[in-house]
C-alpha cells in the first residue's frame, strides 16, 4: 500500500489543489479500495484501479464550488508568499513556472485537467490513463490532444511569456 501512497496523494493534490483535502481524498480512496477489493479483477493492474477511485473522489471534491472558492483564496495567499520566496531563491524559478502552468490548467474542464495530470505530471501510460478514467485508449489520445490545444490558448492569452513564439511569429516580428 505504501508504494501507492505518494501517487495517490499527488493526483489528489493536483486536482483538489489543497494539501489537507488531498490527504483526506487519498485516505478515503484507500479505504474505499480496501472495501471494494471483492470487485477488483486481480488480473488487472492495481495502480490504475486505485487511481480511478482517487480521481473520482478528487473530482467530486473539486466540484463543490463553494469549497473550491475558499481553497482558491487560501491558495492565492499561499502563492503570494511563494512568489516572494521565488524572487529570493533562484532555484525556485522552475517551481514558479510549474505553478503558473498549474494555475493555467485550473481554467480547463475537470476532464481536461485529469487527463493532462495523468499523462504528463504522473507519467501514466495511455493504457493506464484509459483504465483510470474509464474510457478507451483512443478517447485518452483525442482528449489529450484537445486539452493541449485549449491549454495553449489559455497560456497564449493569460501567460504568454511561458511559451516561446512560433517561427512564423518570430518572422513577422522582424
Amino acid at each position: 500500500m505504501r508504494q501507492y501512497e505518494e501517487v495517490a496523494f499527488r493526483v489528489a493534490y493536483l486536482i483538489v489543489r489543497d494539501e489537507a483535502e488531498a490527504r483526506d481524498v487519498a485516505q478515503e480512496a484507500f479505504l474505499r479500495a480496501y472495501g471494494s477489493l471483492g470487485r477488483f479483477d486481480a488480473r488487472r493492474a492495481f495502480r490504475p484501479w486505485l487511481l480511478r477511485i482517487v480521481t473520482n473522489l478528487a473530482l467530486n471534491s473539486a466540484r463543490k464550488a463553494a469549497r473550491q472558492r475558499r481553497r482558491d483564496e487560501r491558495y492565492e495567499r499561499a502563492a503570494d508568499v511563494q512568489r516572494t520566496v521565488a524572487s529570493v531563491e533562484e532555484t525556485v524559478e522552475a517551481q514558479e513556472r510549474g505553478r503558473r502552468v498549474w494555475q493555467a490548467m485550473s481554467t480547463l474542464s475537470a476532464d481536461d485537467q485529469t487527463v493532462l495530470y495523468l499523462r504528463y505530471f504522473l507519467a501514466t501510460s495511455e493504457e493506464d490513463a484509459a483504465t483510470t478514467i474509464g474510457r478507451p485508449v483512443g478517447t485518452v489520445k483525442s482528449r489529450v490532444h484537445r486539452a493541449l490545444g485549449r491549454l495553449r490558448q489559455v497560456i497564449q492569452e493569460q501567460y504568454p511569456d511561458l511559451l516561446p513564439p512560433l517561427p512564423e511569429e518570430m518572422g513577422s516580428q522582424r
Binding site: 505504501r2 479505504l31 488480473r43 517551481q95 513556472r97 499523462r119 493541449l148 495553449r152
Partner: protein, 253 residues
C-alpha cells in the same frame, strides 16, 4: 502521442513536462498509518451490529452451506490477491478478518513435512536455496520437504531460533489483526512482519488455491518477503531487527 502532435502543440507538451519535473508537491503525509488505524477500528465498530442482524445470520447459513458443498476444493477468491498488492507483495495474501471456525493446531515441520537433507532439498526445488550467512558454514539443525510431489515443493530449513521456508508457492495468512502487520523493507524488498501471537498460515498452490493440509497456527513472529519469484518465510523468536539482519544476509548455497 508526441509524433502526432501538431507543431503548435509540441511546445505546450514540452512546457507540461518541464512543469511536471519541477512541480513542488507538498510532502506526502503518512496515509498508510491512518488508513490502517481506521481499518482496525471499522470492523470492531460494526461487528456487533452485523452479527446481531437476522439477515446476516441467514446469509451466514447460506455461506456455510456453500462452503460445505465446495469442500476442500474451495478456492480463495482471486480478487483477494489485491490484498497482497495492498500490502505490497504479489504472492502473499493476508486476510485480516476475524478468524471463524476451529483454530488449527500449532504444528512444527515434522508434523506436515518429510525429513530431508540440504542436498536433497536443493535437488527438489528449481531455484538455489539460500542460507543466512551467519549459518552458512553449518548444516541446518534439520531440513524438511513439504509437498515434494507437487509442482512447487517447499524447502524448510530449521535452525535453533528460526525456521526458514523457501518456495515458489504463495502464502495465505488469516485471522491477523491489521495492527499486528507491519510493512517493512530491506535491501530493496518490501516485506511484511507479523507479530507473534498466533495467525493461521496456509500455502497457496500455483493456481492460488489453498493447500488445505498445510493449514496451521503459527505462534511465532513471521517475516515474509519475495525475491526473484521466490517467497521467503521466516518464523522466528528473534526480534524484527534481528530477523531483518538475518534476511539480508541470505546467500546462495
Amino acid at each position: 502521442m508526441s509524433m502526432d502532435l501538431s507543431r503548435e502543440l509540441a511546445p505546450v507538451e514540452a512546457l507540461l513536462r518541464s512543469a511536471a519535473d519541477s512541480f513542488a508537491y507538498p510532502p506526502t503525509p503518512p496515509i498508510t498509518r491512518s488508513v490502517r488505524a481506521q481499518l482496525v477500528e471499522a470492523p470492531r465498530a460494526g461487528s456487533e451490529r452485523w452479527w446481531s442482524q437476522p439477515a446476516f445470520r441467514a446469509a451466514l447459513a447460506v455461506l456455510a452451506a456453500v462452503a460445505l458443498i465446495a469442500g476442500s476444493a474451495l478456492a480463495v477468491p482471486q480478487s483477494r490477491s489485491a490484498l497482497a498488492k495492498f500490502f505490497g507483495l504479489s504472492h502473499v495474501r493476508v486476510d485480516t478478518q476475524p478468524t471463524g471456525g476451529p483454530t488449527p493446531p500449532a504444528l512444527s515441520p515434522e508434523s506436515f513435512a518429510r525429513p530431508s537433507s540440504l542436498g536433497e532439498a536443493q535437488r527438489a526445488v528449481d531455484f538455489p536455496l539460500r542460507l543466512p550467512v551467519r549459518d552458512a558454514r553449518v548444516e541446518p539443525d534439520a531440513v524438511y520437504l513439504q509437498g515434494e510431489d507437487a509442482v512447487m515443493p517447499v524447502a524448510i530449513l530449521v535452525y535453533e531460533d528460526y525456521d526458514l521456508y523457501q518456495t515458489r508457492l504463495g502464502f495465505f495468512g488469516k485471522g491477523t489483526d491489521p495492527d499486528l502487520i507491519h510493512e517493512v523493507s530491506f535491501g530493496g524488498h518490501d516485506a511484511l512482519w507479523i507479530d507473534e501471537g498466533g495467525h493461521i498460515a496456509t500455502f497457496l498452490d500455483e493456481q492460488g488455491r489453498l493447500v488445505v493440509e498445510s493449514r496451521r497456527t503459527v505462534g511465532r513472529a513471521t517475516l515474509l518477503w519475495e525475491d526473484g519469484g521466490i517467497t521467503y518465510r521466516l518464523e522466528t523468536s528473534l526480534s524484527q531487527e534481528e530477523a531483518i539482519v538475518l534476511a539480508e544476509s541470505l546467500s546462495g548455497t
